[in-house]
Amino acid sequence: MKNLLSAFTALVAIGMIVGAAEAADLVLYTSQPNEDAQATVDGFKAANPGLDVQWVRDGTPQIMAKLNAEIQAGNPAADVLLIADTVTLERMKQAGQLMAYKSPEAANYDKALYDADGFYYSTKLITTGIIYNTQAAMKPTSWADLAKPEAKGLVTMPSPLASGAALIHAQTLSGIPSLGWDYYKNLKANGAIAAGGNGAILKSVASGEKAYGFVVDYLPIREKAKGAPVEFVFPKEGVSAVTEPAAILASTKHADNAKKFIDYVLSQKGQEGFLKLGYIPARNGMAVPAGFPARETIKVLPINAPDALKNSEKDVKGFADIFGIKG
C-alpha cells in the first residue's frame, strides 16, 4: 500500500505543479527566435514586476495554425501576438479576432506603422536581403546575381509555408517588374531550393552547405559578430521588409496585461531592448544596431498590402508549385 500511496501523492503533487503552470498572467505567441522571445519577455517583466508571462515560439504560419486550431476548438491560449507581418494581422482584424487598443505610445510612430483603429502596431523593421558565405567565389550585390551560373545549385531560401517574412518577400519581389515570378522560376532552374524558416537558411549558408541565401537581416549580422563566416548584403534593387507587429486577441482573458505588453514593446525601453538584440527599431528617433547601414540608406521595396492580403493564398500556392513544396 505504501507504494500505491506514494504513487498517489506523486500524482497529486504533479497535478498541482501542472495546474500552477497553466495559470499565467499573460500568454505571448511569437515568431521571434527563442533567445529574443525570452529577452523581450524578461524586459516586459522587469518593467511590470510580478507578472507571470508564458510564451510560445514558432514560425508565423505555424503559430497561426496552432492559434486557428485552438480558436476552432474554442480555447485559444494566446493573449498577445508578436509575429512577422501586418498582412496576417490585417486578415485577423477583418475576421474580428483582434481587440482594438489605442496605445499612447503610438504618437512616436510613423502613421504607416500602425493600424489607425489600434488593432496592431509595428515594432521593428526586419528586412530580407542576401546572406553569403565568406568563402563563396562571388560577392552578390543584386537579387539578379543569384540567378547567374556562378550561383548554380548554391542558393537557398526560406519557404513561405514556414516563414511570414518569406511570404512578404516573395510577394514583394514578384511585384517588381524587372524580377517578377519569372525571377523565382529562373532561380529554381538554377538549382535553388526553398525549405524551412530563416534559421535553417542561416545554418545552411554559415555551414557552407549552400553559398547564398535569402534571409532576414538580424540573423547573419548577429552571427557575423559572433564569428560566423557570413556576410549580409542589401541588394541594389532594394530589400523587402516586415515590421513584426504586435496585437491583442479579441478572446484575451488578460486584457489589462495585454495592453501593458503593447505599451511596453512600443515604449522607449522596449524599443531599446529590440535594438540591443540587433533589430532596427520602428520608433522615431532611434539608432540602428551595430553592423547596419544608416536607416535612410536602406532602400525598402514597396508592397501593396491590400493586394498582398487578397493574394496570399494564391501566392503561397504559386511559390510552392514552382519549388515543388508540399504541405
Partner: protein
C-alpha cells in the same frame, strides 16, 4: 466472469468493468473517433482530392523507401550484433550490448542533430579536425539514404532484441545432437541455428519497419530541408498550414500510416505464430562458438561500429554545443559554454519543458502503474474469454505511430467535452491522456510478466484465511510485483521523457516538452542551444538506463528490454 464470485473466482466484481472502461477510453474511443472522421471524409468525397494529389503518393513512396532501407540497415546492424554477441565468445558482451541499446533510447531528433554535426560541411567536429568538405557540398544525410541510415541506427536494437530472444530460445539439444553427429561449428550455424532463428529475424525486421514508418524526429530534421516528406512529416506540415480541411485530411493520412503499420505487424504476427517464448526449458544457454584467431577482428569490428554509431555522433553533438556560432571552427580559443548558460540559466522555456516533460512522464509512469497492476492481475487471473481481445486492444495504441494517436486525440478533444463543456485541447491534460494511451502497453508488459511468475497458491492461502481483494493486493500482490513495477515506471518514464511525436502536434502555451523544445530551438536557428539541451537529455537517458541495469538482477526476465 459468468461464475458467481464465491466459487473460486477471487476477483472483485468491479475489476472487469474497470478494465473494460480503461481500455475503452485509452484505445477504442480515440481510434474509433479517428476511423469515423476518416471514413466520413472519404464518403464526403474529401479524400478523393487528397488521394489524387501526386504529392501524397510521393510521400507514401518516400515513407516506404526510407522505411524499407532503414529496415535493411537495422537488420544488418542488429542482426550482426545479435549473432556475434549471442553465439560467439566475444569479450565484454554485457557492455557492448548495453552500448548498442543506447541509440534506441536517445530521442530520434537528438540522433539526427548529432549525425548532422558529424557529417557534411556544417560539422563542428570535422572543422575542428580540418576535415570539413568544401563549400557547397551537400549535407549527405539530407537524403533518402541518410534518413534510412539513421532509421537503421535508431531501430537496430529492435532487431537485435528480437533475434537474440529467438537465439536464446533455441533448443540446446538440437545443437548438441548436431555436434555429436560430427557437424562442424559452421555447419551447425548454417543448418541448425540460422534456419531456426529466421522467425526472429523476420519479426525484428517487421518491428523495425513499423517503427521507421512512424518515426517523426529523423525525417523532420533530415527530410524537410531536402523536400523529402514522409507521411508523419506530411501530417505535421498539413497541420502547420491549418485550414478548413485540415482535420479531414490528417485523419485520412493517419489512416494510411495506420494501414502501413498494421501490415507490418501482421507480417510479424504471422512469422511468430505458434511460437511462445514463455515456455522455454533450456533457454539462455546457447552453445558458444569459439572464434579463435578471428576473435580480435570481430571485437574490433563491434567496437568500431559502436564508435561510429554512438561515440562519434555524441562527440559531434558536444562539439556543436560548444561552438560559438554556426560555421565557426572549434578550437581552444573559440570554445564557449554560452549555450549551456543560455539554456540552463536564461531560457524560461527550458524550465517549463523540463517541468512538463518530467511531470508528464512521472504522472504517466505512476498513473499507468495503478491501472496496469489491476489490468495485469485481471489479464493473468481471469478466465474470461475477453482476455485475448483486451490485451490486443491494449497493445494497439503502442504499436501505432505516435502521430496517429496524436491526431486521434486532437479529433476527440478538439471540441469541448460534451456534458461538462470543458475543453482540454491545448492544455497539458490532452498530452497526458495521449501518453497514457501510447505507453499503456509499455507499462503493462513488466507487470503482466511478474504476475505470470507469481504462484497463485500464496493468494489462495490468504483468501482461505479470509483476506479480501484489497488486503491481498496490499499484503501479497503489490510487494511481489514491486520490482517489476519499479522497472515499468522507469521504462515508461524514460520513453515518455524523450517523446516528440505525440507532443509535437499537441503542445501549446506552457505545455512544451523537451522533445518539442529541441526541435523548435533547432528550427529557429539556435542550433548550439539545441545541441546543448540534447547533451543534457542524453546524460539523463544514460543515467536512467544505468539505474535499470543495476536493478536488472532483482527483476523478472524480460523486464529490462536489453537484458535477456
Amino acid at each position: 466472469m459468468t461464475r458467481p464470485q464465491k466459487q473460486g473466482n477471487s476477483q472483485p466484481r468491479w475489476l472487469f468493468p474497470f478494465v473494460v472502461t480503461v481500455i475503452f477510453c485509452l484505445s477504442v474511443l480515440p481510434l474509433g473517433r479517428l476511423a469515423a472522421t476518416g471514413i466520413m471524409s472519404a464518403f464526403r468525397g474529401g479524400a478523393s482530392e487528397l488521394l489524387s494529389d501526386p504529392g501524397l503518393w510521393c510521400s507514401v513512396y518516400d515513407t516506404l523507401s526510407t522505411s524499407f532501407f532503414g529496415m535493411i540497415a537495422a537488420v544488418v546492424l542488429g542482426g550482426g550484433f545479435a549473432l556475434l554477441l549471442t553465439l560467439f565468445d566475444i569479450r565484454g558482451k554485457a557492455l557492448l550490448g548495453f552500448l548498442f541499446m543506447l541509440p534506441t533510447m536517445i530521442p530520434p531528433q537528438v540522433t539526427a542533430l548529432a549525425w548532422i554535426g558529424m557529417t557534411g560541411p556544417s560539422s563542428a567536429l570535422l572543422k575542428a579536425l580540418g576535415l570539413a568538405p568544401p563549400l557547397g557540398s551537400p549535407q549527405p544525410l539530407y537524403s533518402i539514404g541518410g534518413i534510412a541510415l539513421l532509421y537503421g541506427v535508431q531501430n537496430a536494437a529492435l532487431v537485435y532484441l528480437s533475434l537474440r530472444a529467438g537465439l536464446l530460445a533455441l533448443p540446446r539439444d538440437a545443437v548438441e545432437a548436431a555436434r555429436l553427429s560430427g557437424a562442424s561449428s559452421f555447419q551447425v550455424l548454417k543448418d541448425v541455428i540460422l534456419p531456426l532463428s529466421l522467425p526472429g529475424f523476420a519479426a525484428g525486421a517487421a518491428i523495425a519497419f513499423v517503427s521507421c514508418v512512424g518515426n517523426f524526429g529523423i525525417p523532420a530534421i533530415l527530410g524537410i530541408p531536402a523536400g523529402i516528406y514522409t507521411l508523419p512529416t506530411l501530417i505535421y506540415s498539413k497541420f502547420a498550414a491549418f485550414g478548413p480541411r485540415t482535420f479531414a485530411d490528417i485523419s485520412v493520412l493517419s489512416g494510411l500510416i495506420a494501414i502501413l503499420s498494421v501490415i507490418g505487424l501482421m507480417v510479424e504476427a504471422r512469422v511468430l505464430r505458434g511460437r511462445d517464448y514463455r515456455v522455454i526449458g533450456l533457454s539462455g544457454q546457447v552453445a558458444v562458438f569459439r572464434l579463435g584467431a578471428w576473435r580480435w577482428l570481430a571485437e574490433l569490428l563491434l567496437w568500431l561500429t559502436i564508435f561510429l554509431i554512438l561515440a562519434m555522433p555524441l562527440i559531434a553533438l558536444v562539439a556543436s554545443s560548444l561552438a560559438p556560432a554556426y560555421g565557426v571552427r572549434l578550437s581552444p580559443a573559440t570554445v564557449t559554454i554560452k549555450a549551456y548558460e543560455e539554456i540552463l540559466l536564461r531560457q524560461a522555456a527550458t524550465r517549463i519543458a523540463f517541468t512538463n516533460s518530467l511531470s508528464l512522464s512521472l504522472a504517466t509512469a505512476f498513473g499507468l502503474l495503478v491501472v496496469t497492476v489491476l489490468t495485469g492481475y485481471f489479464l493473468v487471473r481471469s478466465k474470461s474469454r475477453l482476455v485475448g481481445l483486451i490485451s490486443a486492444l491494449a497493445e494497439i495504441p503502442y504499436a501505432l505511430p505516435g502521430i496517429v494517436l496524436a491526431v486521434a486525440f486532437i479529433l476527440l478533444f478538439a471540441a469541448p467535452i460534451p456534458v461538462i463543456g470543458i475543453s482540454i485541447y491545448g492544455t497539458i491534460w490532452i498530452i497526458l491522456i495521449a501518453y497514457f494511451s501510447s505507453f499503456f502497453a509499455v507499462s503493462l508488459k513488466p507487470v503482466v510478466s511478474a504476475f505470470r511468475q507469481l504462484d497463485p497458491s500464496l493468494e489462495e492461502a490468504a483468501r482461505l484465511s479470509g483476506a479480501g481483494f484489497a488486503r491481498r493486493l496490499v499484503d501479497i500482490l503489490v510487494p511481489l510485483v514491486a520490482p517489476a513495477a519499479g522497472a515499468s515506471v522507469i521504462l515508461v518514464f524514460l520513453i515518455a521523457c524523450n517523446e516528440l511525436t505525440v507532443s509535437a502536434l499537441l503542445w501549446s502555451a506552457g505545455t512544451q516538452t523537451l522533445g518539442v523544445l529541441i526541435y523548435n530551438l533547432d528550427d529557429s536557428g539556435s542550433f548550439n542551444i539545441a545541441a546543448a539541451l540534447s547533451v543534457l537529455v542524453v546524460i539523463m537517458v544514460i543515467a536512467m538506463m544505468v539505474v535499470l541495469e543495476l536493478m536488472a538482477k532483482r527483476l523478472p526476465k524480460g523486464v529490462v528490454p536489453w537484458r535477456s
